[in-house]
Symmetry: C3
Subunit: 269 residues, 3 copies
């Protein structure tokens, strides 16, 4: 993947302003909506079982996030996911905290059984959990090192026949037959809640206008990481409050010039 | 309406700090509370059917917003709305996304059948939908032009016997026998989620201390638009993250001098 | 309590990054998570009755907040609280708005009957309400003066055999046999929603690593107040939007030097 692909995809997102339907958690709702707006997409949150199928059908992408799940939300996610599948609307799934409790593990499995997921995004521990792999979990972090993360992403992609994105020190985007690494981003992202969740939503916006979900997800991850680096340059040592504000600013500003200058992409086929 | 009315109404809001009871959507809850606090009002969010009637009765205004509705919230909105009606507490209704799904359209109609709404606020497409009018919807925007928006507001006001506020390039405030246009505001407001929802809540704060709902709503819209213009001056080209922060700052600062200098109001009787 | 205790407790929070399980209200969820992250703790929000007990057991502290309660949340709070009690995980309870409606008063009482609360935190009116005391409520403020607040905190602590924190102009931390006053903080905190709720969560983070709940709560209140004062120095006259951003920055920065220079603590035994 070259930088021109990233730039063109971003331009199309801003031109088409795709409607991204989010069924997400209560912690990150506002940040997700503001992040999508800043980027140039059009967010909508709709959760009621009476309307989620209708909303998913008219959306450009559907993003499911189990961060604060309950039975009603799981029901709505499955209804929305099936409607999206039928309408050809790409589905992004973010299995927040899968493995932390038995209920989350089970709910994530249930959603993936009922809905064809196009892009799965999480940290290594979450992806290992939904792929049924043993994974050494150290605190909230996923252990073992970058090499294994790549293998894990490839295996998850093969088993689930879906693009898999594992974010961390490097972002790994894998399909059954390709692998892209994005080396952009900044550790300050871990000091602001919902930065992983918002990336899943941004991947949704890119998938809405680019059918190749590997290119879409990798472009989204690159734009996101470049915005984070720019936000760190602007907010410097001020702290996580200023970084969050500046990150929203920078999501609205990333352009061809930044992408050309700062994208760090490795492609394997 | 002259600028002195706007200033006096704002001063009374800050002096009396009215309690504004919000039943609103999960995207904008925090922003709504912080916006009301910045302005000088006193926000409360309470949603449980067991307490909404009690809370609505002691509030200065009740604001109902269907942005992320479900059956429980609709039930609570109707209970709260009826209690507010009985207690003489003004009710502001924001039919977010009415028309986007059949469920929203139906729920908005149900609420308006059961509750006497004092002020209805939305964009042109939402107001057209709840008024039963055909309206050309272009994406998330409402088409057709300013002249029609004024007619639409007047018709909605006549049919529903309530003050109707349509926000957009110009804000139109209509009752059965009067029309006020507010030409303040800035397009950057559309880059921050919940700015329409917060305006509905701010209208609630103004209605809590001014019984003439047309003057209250128009004063609220003017103060809001002036704060947005001031926030743009302060945040300049920084982006939507900085604008949101500065907008909260400016809501706390709008005063007689700004209002005198910047309010752009047209009144028709 | 000396400043060295405060510093050492803060250092341990940052070193151990305790998992703080919050069942909280929809207004403050994002701010609570970002505040805990900025401080150096690890927030998790989990509400479903199917998983709250599992999550509470693996947490360092459990924080229950009834700001936007409903029956499902009360059920989850009681399940989580009992699991925390059995596992020896400290429970912090924030009875937001107790007394404002009969339902809140009753729900707060129910939770305190079913769950052993280790630290109770609220304003004077809320603490009086859950302690069954008459208290003159003036608007959203609790009347009567500082002397009475100390007596109230001591009585609540005695009756409930728990550390009680009453925040206001001075923060009062009382157990059955000790009393600490913290004179840090700034009135601007009342212009940002959720600053009381976030303090309850921060007390949770401190209780996760310090078994003496009086020292933990007093250290948390001191760090919190010092961060607020630093944020005011940085944001100056800018307003509540900038203050909130700067407050998150300063939560990440408070250190031994600030604590040594600015902590204003009075200890009575």
């Amino acid at each position: 993947m070259n930088t021109e692909t990233i730039t063109q995809t971003l331009i199309q997102v801003r031109r088409q302003r795709p409607l991204v339907h989010n069924i997400t958690n209560v912690v990150v709702t506002n940040f997700t909506a503001n992040g999508l707006l800043a980027l140039g997409a059009s967010p909508v949150m709709a959760y009621a079982k009476e309307e989620v199928a209708d909303m998913a059908r008219i959306a450009g992408a559907l993003v499911l996030n189990i961060g604060t799940l309950d039975e009603e939300k799981v029901t709505s996610m499955i209804l929305a996911g099936k409607a999206a599948n039928e309408a050809g609307v790409p589905v992004i799934f973010d299995p927040v905290g899968a493995g932390a409790t038995a209920y989350r593990t089970e709910a994530a499995a249930r959603i993936m059984n009922e809905v064809k997921v196009d892009v799965l995004r999480g940290n290594a521990a979450e992806i290992a959990n939904v792929t049924g792999k043993q994974w050494e979990i150290k605190g909230v972090d996923a252990g073992s090192g970058a090499g294994n993360t790549r293998e894990l992403a490839k295996e998850a992609a093969r088993r689930g026949q879906m693009t898999t994105v594992i974010t961390g020190e490097e972002d790994v985007i894998a399909s059954e037959d390709s692998l892209i690494l994005i080396h952009n981003g900044h550790p300050m992202l871990t000091k602001v809640t919902g930065t992983g969740c918002l990336l899943s939503a941004v991947i949704g916006a890119f998938c809405a206008i680019e059918q190749n979900t590997v290119l879409a997800a990798a472009s989204a991850a690159a734009v996101y990481g470049i915005a984070a680096e720019a936000a760190m340059k602007m907010s410097g040592e001020e702290g996580p409050g200023s970084f969050q504000v500046e990150f929203l600013n920078q999501l609205s500003k990333v352009d061809a010039r930044n992408i050309e200058a700062f994208a760090r992409v490795e492609t394997f086929n």
